[in-house]
Subunit: 233 residues, 4 copies
């Protein structure tokens, strides 16, 4: 399984507290999550400031699953690279969309909606499984607690997911569809809501297990040579 | 729209506190909810102790929507009448399943699952809409509070709903898919989780609006003359 | 119900046989379908050659349901107007996407996929209902025949529909998900496959009934004042 | 993977032509399909005339996936064993329901509907994939032909499937949702329409591949010790 990570890298430059929680940045902790898996090969960790954001045609061509974290730079991301990511997903590349990457251009283009939601910071979250037989829930507890996370609240403007696997409960009184799958073209997509840049959720073993399960689940069973076009019979 | 109510009527006999909250029983408050709607005709209010539970073939034949509340007597309900209700739903009768009626034989037979869940009493609930364009959500607030309700928690063992319209947040840290639709045969089914017998939820204007919307939504557009059988072309 | 029609109008200029089948063009026959409905108001019929394609902000602001037919000019359609249509759908405008309009920019942007499929011409189609209780199927026969239509074949690269209402059978040995619904944001979308420019399907009473039902079904129950943005609690 | 086969065995006794097509009966050809898979263990092949139909508690307890073919004896099958099968599915056992087993009590109890459909014999079928990334479609052709099969036509009275993987096209002008998945409790269920007792479909390599894929897909990731009951928090 060839994995590529995209970590925007913008918050690490602007908010010192991010590096207090994640000394190697969010890209670093995601790398650790990937390297815990057996038989995986981490191709690269791209960021907003790399040439082509590190997401070259060559890299994406080899990528089975792209793990993507982004935030305040979503609107700065180049349109043509977002389109490239979208096309690779449609051809079969798995796409794991973490937290505020819900607003990245590649994901919103695949969804067709605004992907907006209600939010505020510094809440306690319970992540509760409502789909215990889904491959992404295997070996994951029925529920677990994130002591501090960012609340994402409904109405979250996403299309109806293929499967809702986790629902988030927040101490402020909100809920959201916290772990959702989508299929677009030949690509499998998993959105997972935890992962605020100043909260230590990516150290939580259950969060790590979920991301690892999602990588296995999203690995393409087939990948088209190019985005499909109209086909005469 | 011809509506029939089934209220089990068992808790009213065993728990004096039910009549403190609902002096005319749960059947009485459901009747009030029905009578608030224009152009509706309440056919009858059956209970567990009535002959055929009040759900005769003749009554069900005329019924467009059956509103059903039950609880501790779910297992005492006659099998043949549960089967009769199931058949009328499959032919097209709408079926509004309130609170602990989730465990009634007619509903579990239509679902095919155990319809079990986690529960405890005396919690605060937020009912939050995650499907704002659904007809059952029309004119309903984005979220509303029930000061005291019974917690229903996931994993709730129901088949994947056609639509999840409301998610319940409970102060104890639980969530559940609180308002869900299903289609079975020609019948439209709405399960709604609030409505514990000693909590005043059926007085809440948002709960009443939701039940009324559900009656309109579940009204059959067509009703088969009998349950279908194998049909040769 | 305020309805707007968009008919590309390109085929009428290039293929004389279109006007043999539809002397007033496809826009003309769609107008007749709309005018058969009671209590509807046809706002305008736009085409590719009109200023802003006839789909001005002012018109879309007033539109409850947009009926859209297009074909060879899908790629010439202005991006900003496609984006405008998408935004109005997300705010609540109903969107009826007919035949080759499956490839129009507004629809593919709402779907996120290529919306490609297999095709060829001059086939016989059976349109068969697999969802008889859906509002769009009310009063429509279980199955009906279109003597000549264009085959659309699977795999049709669309996201999983909310509901599949009709499946198309083609004498050449193909099938497709011929009538499908989607919800995106507050907008209800219906894709319907029949309607090739030189086949008389839009005269078929069942096709007309389906389009009319779809207009009623897609009428917004609420329309947002603007496309939503991130909302702090 | 521990697999159990149930083959009703009634048609083999009553219709000599079944044994002309399948000299070892339908149970025999299903056994061959199972034995082609690596790392599988065939526990037993039960039939209607065996004690407890061969589906004892002990056997089902060990079974990961139950492959089930039945037909004219569906109504003779003992209720308590059907209930036993249903309970094991809810606990996690995979359930592969072939052809006329659509009418068996265990399946109809899990679905809650009549599972009826239109039918006639001796048609040509095209099995066409509309969900190419599903695990059950891996390595299966986009479409393949069964020269003679029994037509199953819509409306097929099943609940909305989790996924529709194959649509059947029949030369008589019918279609059906030919390969469908459902989740009930912890159990994964696959219904597959081909397999009439006097047609050689179970020799077709694509049909065999699909059944084998379905066994892998339906293998439980977890199995509950007993059917769940109401759980206090």
């Amino acid at each position: 399984m060839n994995i590529t990570i995209f970590n925007e890298g913008r918050d690490e430059r602007r908010k010192p507290e991010v590096l207090e929680v994640y000394p190697n940045g969010i890209g670093g902790v995601l790398r650790d999550i990937v390297l815990e898996m057996e038989e995986t090969n981490l191709l690269t960790i791209g960021c907003l400031y790399d040439e082509e954001c590190g997401l070259t045609e060559d890299i994406l061509e080899k990528t089975d699953v792209l793990i993507y974290w982004s935030h305040g730079g979503n609107h700065e991301f180049p349109d043509e690279i977002a389109k490239r990511v979208q096309n690779h997903v449609l051809r079969g590349m798995g796409f794991i969309v973490l937290h505020s990457a819900i607003g990245c251009k590649a994901f919103t283009s695949l969804m067709g909606t605004t992907c907006t939601f209600r939010y505020h910071h510094d809440d306690k979250e319970h992540v509760i499984c409502c789909n215990p037989t889904h491959p992404i829930a295997q070996g994951v507890d029925d529920r677990f607690v994130l002591e501090v996370e960012e609340t994402y609240g409904e109405f979250m403007d996403i299309p109806k997911p293929d499967d809702i696997i986790f629902i988030g409960w927040f101490s402020s009184g909100e809920v959201c569809r916290s772990g959702c799958t989508f299929t677009r073209g030949n690509g499998k997509i998993f959105f997972f809501q935890p992962g605020h840049e100043t909260n230590p959720s990516f150290y939580h073993p259950q969060v790590r297990k979920i991301i690892q399960n999602a990588c296995h689940w999203a690995t393409p069973t087939r990948k088209l040579p190019k985005v499909s076009e109209y086909v005469a019979l």
